[in-house]
């Protein structure tokens, strides 16, 4: 077996949304198995092989899935803090093809604003061992970065 090169990169991001729905409904979408599966596990190109959820502090949510027939990806989530209709904190790891590629802490905050709900999603992640994203690239950001790379490269050639 070859020696694996180890590294950790830390990254954080915050996302915000306002939904025209009461906070309880937004919270329920994180708390109910059917909603979690529909919103956070299913998706175009994703084949879900297993899904299980126990929504309580210390409880686990696990899922296994593939993106377009690729390697098996496993999500293991443990709930750290639950304040009904207001806050959920969970830690999750992603394993792809048998290798752990990240470990993250997520805080979801939900606040009422008039008749809407404001959601703030904050992730702090440790991205492990320089793994390229084996899950497959859905990201539009990726296309932008590729275009930038080409522009930089072509600017050099074009002269």
């Amino acid at each position: 077996m070859s020696t694996k090169e180890r590294s950790v990169t830390h990254g954080s991001f915050t996302l915000e949304r306002t939904y025209p729905h009461p906070p309880e409904r937004v919270f329920a979408a994180f708390a109910e198995a059917e909603a979690v599966r529909a919103c956070f596990v299913e998706g175009e190109g994703w084949e879900v092989e297993a899904f299980d959820m126990d929504f309580r502090v210390g409880g686990r949510q696990t899922s296994s899935f593939r993106y377009r027939g690729g390697p098996l990806i496993h999500n293991d989530t443990v709930y750290q803090d639950i304040v009904p209709d207001e806050r959920i904190i969970f830690a999750y790891t992603i394993t792809a093809g048998g290798e752990r590629i990240s470990a993250s802490l997520v805080t979801v905050e939900i606040r009422p604003r008039d008749r809407d709900a404001e959601l703030t999603f904050t992730e702090h992640g440790a991205f492990l061992d320089g793994h390229d994203d084996v899950a497959g690239r859905e990201s539009g950001t990726d296309g932008l970065l590729d275009a930038l790379g080409e522009w930089l490269a072509s600017s050099a050639d074009g002269r």
Partner: protein, 120 residues
Amino acid sequence: MLNHVHSLDRAFQALADPTRRAILESLTDRPRSVSELAEPLDMSLPGVLQHVQVLEGSGLIASEKVGRVRTCRLEPEALGDVERWIADRRSRWERRLDRLGDYLDARRRDPLDDERGGGS
């Protein structure tokens, strides 16, 4: 409040200015000093230096001062695998939150339910 400016945001901010793009383009040939960079631009040296600092802060270029001469070079690896990976994770969650919105909209019951405090 989190004061993390994602490196990707910094890079795009750096690229959003035509002078900075011109600087990047001239650096794709070879490294250049700040005065060399300033020459074709209709701008004072301090003005150019400010742009250089923004580019350096974004990680798109690096510079070195030897004596009185600051030389700049392109760092094409700046938007490398790591940033791409984190950006990927972020945009994945963006999509999920979008799906959450669609899901809630699709499941919206009679608006009167909310006022009556109706639940399942």
